[in-house]
Amino acid sequence: MTIRGAACIAGAYEHPERVIPDRTVAQIHAEVAVGAIADAGLSLADVDAYFCAGDAPGLGGISMVEYLGLRKVRQLDSTETGGSSYLLHVAHAAAAIAVGKCRVALITLAGNPRSGGRAPGGGAQGGAPESPFENPYGLSVPGMYALAAQRHMYEFGTTSAQLAEIRVAASHHAQYNPHAYLREPVTVDEVLASPMVSDPLHRLDCCVITDGGGALIVVHPDVARDLQRPKVAVLGAGEAPKHGDNGRIDLTYSGAVHSGPIAFAEAGITPADIDYVSIYDSFTITVLETLEDLGFCDKGAGGRFVMDGTLQAPFGRLPFNTDGGGLCNNHPGNRGGMTKVIEAVRQLRGEANPEVQVPDCELALAHGTGGSLGTRMGSATLILGRQD
């Protein structure tokens, strides 16, 4: 059994705001839910499955189902893998639809860290068994990714200028996105001249911190058939945690080495078939390792791969994150997985910003990396296809 073609993404909505100091997280969840269901041409009364992660206030989605007034939810899933959660939600929704548990699934994300809101739970890290052996040493989020970048540089000769190319491509795309938090194109030199946050990562190697959110509607193909929007099918999905491996941690690869092949096999395609990629970009190193791990280039060759405009839309060899990504556009609630799926849907519908729309975009990949490259992560790969 497979989820290939078992479900379609019928609605996708990204909150247009990036600074939202005046509303609760629950309200932002509601705003994106309404936006996505309207995009699909459905009603919230049609929703029979609800998916959310640790950013949702309350108890595992129960509070949000009440807030939204959903009355016929029969599939409830609060899978939490940090920023990649929403890709797993799409896959789990497709699986639930495939076995007949539901027909219209709503997935929401919201947060307001820019305005000083409480950081999303991210699981019970305070009580995590590894915490006593890590937290006292002054961990920071950039620091954990910097450890991965440093080791990648040591083993493969990757340079800061190569990492900067990833930011340059993202900023090139963001200039065409009127909602992007940072719209100014930057050069490699400007990335390298930005303040060092945690060596070897500069400030411009890091994603933005924004309020906002997004939502998706995943439906049975029979439901999608009656809707007016372009059809985007779920073709394959893979998910895998990667962790410290009993202290033998290897910082040079991510869980994408596991999730990618599963997704490609299910979709029956190879990396060469992909027209557009949304790659989780909490930091530039996250993108570089993920591209290698998904097989777009050899392990260790990511630095050379991203040079010469490879990632720049519309004519680069592998256009990525055409909304500007988490690096420039939006990283709502410190979680970038939702916006990765949304931009992939836009590309497949032909609704990306015109300057960065990939011509004849038929197959797209979205990848999420929750947790940290430097310790443990939840990786998720989703392959989507346009259906005419």
Partner: protein
């Protein structure tokens, strides 16, 4: 040299011996009685063979820097610390542990550098194992017989 903050760890019953030994200047490691795997982070369960019979052994206390970063501005207890080095040190027994490299300029740390453990008292009966570079005039560490099991395949959890 900045003086590093030394926040006390949360001590769980199964790791009390580890933290108390650190306060006495000793680095303990948990080892599986069944398969001899050195376990990291310490826990009374072997993630290699699922055995639950494990014991403390004393580490030599030397290793090399697997990766490092200079955190320019810390958070929480480290907010006023100034730049400091966060690192993975690969112990000569095998495990790579998160720690700090201290007692040297922050821009003097390199991947592969040999280091030895130092213990910073938390004032609460425990200490944090950290590492300092081994000077050229010091006796090099004895090679430790590898006791870890092969890890050819990247492991997946769950």
């Amino acid at each position: 040299m900045t003086s590093m903050p030394t926040p006390a760890p949360y001590v769980t019953p199964d790791a009390a011996a580890y933290w108390h030994a650190a306060a006495e200047g000793r680095l303990l490691l948990r080892r599986c009685d069944e398969c001899a795997t050195v376990i990291w982070y310490p826990r009374p369960f072997c993630p290699s063979c699922a055995g639950s019979s494990t014991s403390w052994v004393e580490a030599v206390g030397t290793g090399s820097v697997y990766s490092f970063t200079i955190t320019r501005k810390g958070q929480g207890a480290y907010r006023e610390a100034g730049p400091y080095v966060l690192a993975y040190v690969e112990l000569d027994e095998g495990p790579r542990m998160l720690t700090n490299v201290v007692d040297c300029p922050v821009d003097g740390v390199r991947v592969g550098q040999r280091v030895t453990a130092v213990f910073h008292d938390t004032g609460q009966g425990t200490a944090l194992p950290r590492f300092r570079p081994i000077g050229a005039d010091e006796i090099p560490a004895v090679e430790i017989a590898a006791v870890e099991t092969a890890v050819d395949e990247p492991a997946v959890g769950g």
